[in-house]
Amino acid sequence: MYTQSFNVPDQAGQKTVAVTPSTEDAELMARFDARIDADGRIEPQDWMPEAYRKTLVRQISQHAHSEIVGMLPEGNWISRAPSLKRKAILIAKVQDEGGHGLYLYSAAETLGTSRDQLLEGLHSGKAKYSSIFNYPTLNWADVGAIGWLVDGAAIMNQIPLCRCSYGPYSRAMVRVCKEESFHQRQGYEALLVMMKGTQAQREMVQDAVNRLWWKCLAMFGPPDADSPNSAQGMRWGIKRISNDDLRQKFVDATVPQAKVLGITLPDPDLKWNEERQHYDYGQIDWQEFWDTVEGNGPCNKERLATRVKAHNDGQWVRDAAQAYARKQQERAMKEAA
């Protein structure tokens, strides 16, 4: 679960530096460009411009961090899931998010950055992750709404990424997408069931959607006009569809689903535009979005501190396994000698 939201510079003010290739690199660059233009794949050992490598590490790791941090808002409800079936579904889902993070860290590692380095980026607050996970999950319906809306938004972005130019990333995305469709469907179905329940349950669903809707729209990232990285990402085939186009696609797909569900979407400006053949929607609060991205949303500090704590608390466990493996190796060598 993630959307491209989040190909934003990790550090504020960081600009993509224009690369001026040396004559020696010029030929490699031309070959690289030709492969990209032919919709070919770049593999780990292939030559690639440094900026492409850096951008990929940033994008893939932001994506991975989003998956890992994204375990927390939903994990919040595992212990209180209202039925054993829903508990099992939710554990499996949160576990999948962890798996997705793992696939993505692995893809990023093929670019020469270790998992520890990637985690260090997250833990130090330098690396970003999707802003959507910095909002609290306040009632059980949030779990369903995250599946329906957040994972729904993520799929919109992830399917095109299955064809992205970097081989390991695209292969990881194929695996992620296969699993992600379960996420959206389980979320929507959970809400459908609640809507057939009591009035209090219907209110929970509406409340969750009211709180999440605008955050989901913002999650697609800043408008195309304000997305400096987008053009380069498109050129390199690591971003396939623009933020605004994806956002529109999401709105168009979601409105009819909301109708079937029997809830309203909290936007008075939301209406069908016959001329554009799309839904119009209201103004997104970009100030709030940037505040949250920059670490000042409602749950940023909790989310990050929790990840850091889990990592630090787990250090002795990881050390134990490694110490044991080393001892075993030494024993085997002694036996052989």
Partner: protein
């Protein structure tokens, strides 16, 4: 925020055979302290949806890959050996499937 000293488990490449009779296929990688742990972790990470009946784990560092710079001399010479393929040979229709 501070994190403790980073000491990483080695990386393993995971190969899963989905069904009897098929070949093992590379499906990703993971970190584990040693081979036996890598096998178990691979089971939990890569076969949650009945993807496999057999798993291989290989230390990533043990893989030697062909050099992309030598792609030309490595792979292009095979391109003109079309006589290696059955479709190169014309057989009269009346012979049937061969």
């Amino acid at each position: 925020m501070t994190t403790t000293a980073l000491k990483e488990w080695p990386l393993w490449e995971i190969f899963v055979r989905s069904k009897q009779g098929l070949e093992h296929k590379h499906c990703g990688s993971l970190h584990a302290a040693d081979a036996s742990q890598a096998l178990h972790m691979a089971r939990d990470v890569y076969t949650r949806r009945q993807e496999g009946v057999s798993i291989w784990v290989v230390p990533s560092a043990s893989i030697t890959a062909s050099n992309p710079d030598e792609k030309g001399e490595f792979f292009d010479p095979a391109a003109d050996k079309i006589y290696r393929h059955p479709t190169f040979y014309e057989i009269p229709d009346e012979v049937g499937h061969m």
